[in-house]
Symmetry: C2
Subunit: 242 residues, 2 copies
DNA sequence: CCGTGAAATACTGTATACGGTGTTCAGAAC
DNA sequence: GTTCTGAACACCGTATACAGTATTTCACGG
């Protein structure tokens, strides 16, 4: 702005000075801070470990976090919208424990969205992205078995999120983010079956193959069947309260 | 409660007096009232008709609705979560105008979820439900042409919502509800193509046929291609700001 | 006449106070 | 001993007040 205009010829395209200003607007409001803190706390706690209901007290939380009830309430509103807590008029705010039916619904939606993402990825993703997915897969194989034994392990979720990102549909990425957060919460009660992990890895490999051969129909079908297989597994063996 | 317990033999099952109390708890809180009022107002207004930005003033709204800012703010928080408004720190709250990219994403998610619902419906829906869908379809045909000319008409949306409900997945029903609300908003700028309506109706018929023959793969594919066809249509002919 | 700077205004985010209702505990009666 | 009723307490929803910051406008200088 200090530079006079006439010193810059109109037709000469110059690179801007690259000031590299920080975004700096991260985590501005207390409401956002409270939201993140509460979400972290909720997703980390083992909800399905016990049967006692977890009640959240606004006043207590406001004292613990050092803010007033207002940001807490606004954060709670968002968390309720996202399905993590449920506010009962005069009883308090409870951390929701999904029923078996609701968990199956979550998995079905997950299957639908990821199947579509896989279809899109098969046609739109770059070769390097698909190569990256294969690399990611091999990193999992190298990890100790215990860390990716079940469907809700970080490694497994990372694979699926990578597929979803490759679809290039931002809305699908955003929508599945909270879905996986719910999935993580129920990993504690997930049932392990000896050969399931092995089958899962083979199916992942097949999905990568389908993406590499640019076969949208096959990629979609494999992803859908893979995830719906998990739904069937939970349906049969999953043990959930209620 | 007035009746002594010993007058009712334990093994005798008697019909309760049927007091038929009203639910009465509907829309209790001002926050819910404000939410519904604002959502109605936003979805009804023609956002894409003009290019001027719609700003919502908390104070003005609180005076108009006769409540304080608090319920307004809480309602706004939910509406922002649902993607209807966007709150810019010091500028105000604006009604969001989706970009072409975002609208395409909405349609893709719609396609993914309804395709899955159709798959589920093909195996789980009852014969009478499918028959009801066909009846619904014929009611549309009987209506004047103008009322169901484009993809965002009430009649068309009702058809798709019926298919989604038949899937039996509650989460899909809930998630697509807001999706269609966004769809309604952009019907004003939807492009009409002479033969498109005719093609659309034929495709609807084919979907019903697939459900009747209990063919999940076909039903899913037809629904997906039908909706993705709309996406391609919008991609080519849609005119949206930005 | 245009640009810059400062001040005022206005709006948002946060805190706090208050009212109403639900819940729970205690006491009394059966 | 059990159950019902009433009162007290506690918590949620709403209103309102306050502070901080951004934006806009006006004035002054170049």
């Amino acid at each position: 702005m200090q530079t006079p205009v006439h010193q810059t010829p109109a037709l000469e395209v110059v690179d801007p000075p690259k000031l590299k200003v920080e975004p700096l607007e991260a985590a501005s409001s207390l409401r956002m801070l409270a939201y993140e803190a509460l979400k972290r706390a909720i997703t980390q706690m083992d909800i399905y470990g016990s049967t006692t209901e977890f009640r959240l007290d606004e006043r207590q939380l406001s004292e613990t976090l050092g803010v007033s009830r207002t940001p807490i309430r606004e954060a709670m509103t968002v968390l309720e919208q996202e399905g993590f807590v449920r506010s009962v008029p005069r009883r308090g705010i409870f951390v929701v424990r999904k029923t078996k039916r609701e968990i199956l619904d979550l998995i079905v939606v997950w299957a639908a969205l990821e199947a579509m993402a896989a279809r899109l990825a098969a046609t739109h993703a770059s070769d390097s992205e698909i190569a990256g997915l294969r690399r990611l897969f091999h990193e999992f194989e190298a990890q100790p078995l215990a860390s990716h034994m079940n469907e809700y392990s970080e490694a497994n979720i990372a694979f699926h999120q990578a597929v979803i990102r490759m679809g290039g549909c931002r809305l699908i990425v955003d929508m599945t983010e909270n879905l996986f957060l719910h999935m993580r919460a129920i990993r504690a009660v997930s049932v392990r079956q000896e050969n399931r992990h092995e089958i899962s890895m083979r199916e992942h490999m097949a999905i990568i193959d389908a993406l590499e051969t640019r076969d949208p129909d096959l990629a979609e079908r494999l992803v859908r069947e893979h995830t719906m297989g998990l739904a069937a597994h939970v349906e049969r063996h999953g043990v959930f309260p209620e």
